[in-house]
C-alpha cells in the first residue's frame, strides 16, 4: 500500500456512499469532517433531518451570501441554516435526544474501529489530552453508529483491528464502516465485507484489515460518474 492506489475512493465518494444508507424519516447526527459532506448526496425523495448537538434539530446547508445569522451555527462552528419544521433546544435536551435513543444514526470519523464495534475517535494514543466534545455521548446513545475513515493510516497500517490500541470513545457501538476501500458491517458473527470499491479485490481489502472478514456475498460500491 505504499504506492498510490488509484482505485481508492475520494472523501466525497465515501460520503456519497454513506448517504445512500440514510433512510427516509431518520434523524442523523454528523461528526466533523467527512460526515459533513453527506447531506448533499441524500436521495431527493428521502426526508432526512440532521441534528447538531449545539441544540439544532433540522440543520440545513450553509447560508447563501447575505443570509447568515451569527447565532446559527453547526457543531463544527460553521454558519448554517435551518430547514422548515426544525426546532431549537437547549444543550441538556439536545443530549437527551442523543442519549435517549432518538438519533437513528450518527456518522462519525474514526481513528480506529475494533471488530467488536469499539469506536476510537477522540484522542490519539500519544496525546495526553483530547477534545472529546459530544463524541462519547452521541456514540453511546445513537441507535446506529457509522464510522467513516480511510481504510489504513498514513503508513498503510490497519485501522480496523482485532485488538484495540487507541483510547476508547464508546464500547461496541459501531454498526457499519465506510472507507475508501470498502463497506463493512459489524454483526454478531463478525465483520462482514459487504462491498468493495471498483477495481479492488476482496483479498486486497482483507490484506489491510487486521481482523477476519466474512466474504460470502460481496458487491461493488456504486460510484457516481
Amino acid at each position: 500500500m505504499s504506492e498510490q492506489n488509484t482505485n481508492l475512493l475520494t472523501r466525497l465518494q465515501i460520503a456519497a456512499r454513506a448517504a445512500q444508507d440514510m433512510e427516509d424519516g431518520w434523524l442523523v447526527n454528523l461528526g466533523i469532517g467527512m460526515p459533513t459532506m453527506i447531506p448533499a448526496y441524500i436521495p431527493k425523495d428521502r426526508d432526512v433531518m440532521f441534528h447538531s448537538e449545539n441544540g439544532l434539530i433540522g440543520m440545513g446547508p450553509q447560508p447563501a451570501e447575505g443570509e447568515a445569522d451569527q447565532d446559527l451555527i453547526s457543531a463544527g462552528k460553521e454558519l448554517v441554516t435551518m430547514v422548515s419544521g426544525g426546532a431549537i433546544v437547549h444543550h441538556a435536551d439536545s443530549f437527551a435526544v442523543a442519549r435517549g435513543g432518538r438519533l437513528d444514526c450518527a456518522c462519525l470519523g474514526a481513528f480506529q474501529v475494533v471488530a467488536n464495534g469499539d469506536l476510537c475517535n477522540w484522542r490519539l494514543p500519544n496525546q495526553k489530552s483530547g477534545s472529546v466534545g459530544g463524541a462519547m455521548d452521541i456514540a453511546a446513545g445513537s441507535k446506529r453508529v457509522f464510522a467513516m475513515m480511510t481504510h489504513t493510516d498514513r503508513d498503510g497500517g490497519a485501522k480496523i483491528v482485532s485488538e484495540r490500541t487507541f483510547p476508547l470513545t464508546a464500547m461496541g457501538v459501531v454498526t457499519r464502516i465506510f472507507t475508501d476501500m470498502a463497506v463493512i458491517s459489524i454483526t454478531a458473527d463478525g465483520l462482514v465485507l459487504d462491498e468493495v470499491a471498483p477495481g479492488l479485490t476482496k483479498d486486497e481489502v482483507q490484506a489491510v484489515t487486521d481482523a477476519p472478514l466474512i466474504m460470502d456475498n460481496v458487491g461493488e460500491i456504486a460510484v457516481a460518474a
Binding site: S52, E53, N54, G55, L56, D69, Q70, D71, L72, I73, A75, K77, M82, I88, V89, H90, H91, A92, S94, F95, A98, R99, R123, S129, G130, S131, V132, G133, G134, A135, M136, D137, I138, A140, G141, P167, L168, T169, A170, M171
Partner: protein, 231 residues
C-alpha cells in the same frame, strides 16, 4: 414589582470575587456573554474556575478572561480547537488547570445541579479514560457511570430578550448551555440584547423563567467575537 435590571456593567458583575466558580454560557461564539466577561476582566479577578464548553476563540470572550490571567481552572468539553490558542499557551506554560468532561455529561451535570439532584447515571464514557475514578453502578442489567451534579457560585449567561422579572427568551443556537446554567448557580447574571415591558413576552414561549435570574444587563445587539479591550 422589583425590577432586576442592573444600570451599569459593574452593578451586574461587581459581586464576583476571586476564586469563584462561574458557569459561562455559549457554544463556539454564539451565546457567550462577552460583555459580562469584559466586566469580569475589568474587575481583575483571579483564580476563577470557569465552566464552559470551549476554551475561547481568538482574544475575545473566554479567551480574553484566560489571557488576562483571571482563570485558574477550566472545566470544558472541547479545549483543543485551533481558535483556542490563548488557552493552549497558558496550559502549556502550566498556568491553568483543565478538566475535560463529555459535552452531554457537562450539560446534564449542570442541569442536575439546577434541579436539586446530587448526580445521575449515564452510559456516556463507560470504559473510557474519562470515567476513571468514577463509581460504576449496575442497574437494570447494565453498567452506568455515576456523574455528580455541578453548580456555580455565579452563572454568566446571554439571552435575546428579558422582561423586568428576568423571564428570558433566546436566539437560535445562542441558546445552547444558557438555560441550564441559569438554573444552576447561586447568583445568575444575564446579559440581554433587549428588555421589554412586563406581559410583552408570551408566557408559553419563555425558556428561562425569571425565578432563575438574579439580575440582567442590557447590551443591545453586537457583532460577536470582536475584540473589545478594557474601556
Amino acid at each position: 414589582m422589583k425590577n432586576k435590571k442592573s444600570a451599569t456593567l459593574e452593578d451586574a458583575v461587581g459581586r464576583i470575587q476571586d476564586g469563584a466558580t462561574i458557569l459561562v454560557g455559549g457554544f463556539g461564539q454564539p451565546g457567550v456573554p462577552e460583555v459580562l466577561i469584559d466586566g469580569v476582566c475589568d474587575l481583575g479577578r483571579r483564580n476563577l474556575t470557569i465552566v464552559t464548553n470551549n476554551a475561547g476563540t481568538g482574544h475575545s470572550g473566554i479567551a480574553r478572561l484566560i489571557e488576562e490571567g483571571c482563570v485558574g481552572k477550566l472545566i470544558c468539553s472541547f479545549p483543543w480547537a485551533k481558535e483556542s490558542f490563548v488557552f493552549k499557551e497558558l496550559y502549556d506554560a502550566g498556568k491553568i488547570d483543565l478538566e475535560i468532561v463529555p459535552q452531554g455529561t457537562l450539560s446534564e451535570r449542570i442541569r442536575a445541579g439546577g434541579a436539586g439532584l446530587g448526580g445521575f447515571l449515564t452510559p456516556t464514557a463507560l470504559g473510557t479514560d474519562l470515567a476513571e475514578g468514577k463509581p460504576i453502578i449496575e442497574s437494570d442489567g447494565r453498567e452506568w457511570v455515576l456523574e455528580k451534579a455541578l453548580r456555580g457560585d455565579f452563572a454568566l449567561i446571554k439571552a435575546y430578550k428579558t422582561d423586568p422579572r428576568g423571564n428570558l427568551i433566546y436566539h437560535l443556537t445562542a441558546r445552547n448551555f444558557n438555560p441550564v446554567m441559569a438554573m444552576a448557580a447561586d447568583f445568575t447574571i444575564a446579559e440581554v440584547q433587549e428588555d421589554v415591558a412586563i406581559d410583552e413576552l408570551d408566557p408559553e414561549v419563555i425558556v428561562t423563567p425569571g425565578v432563575f435570574v438574579d439580575t440582567y444587563f442590557v447590551t443591545g445587539w453586537y457583532e460577536i467575537g470582536k475584540e473589545r479591550k478594557a474601556s
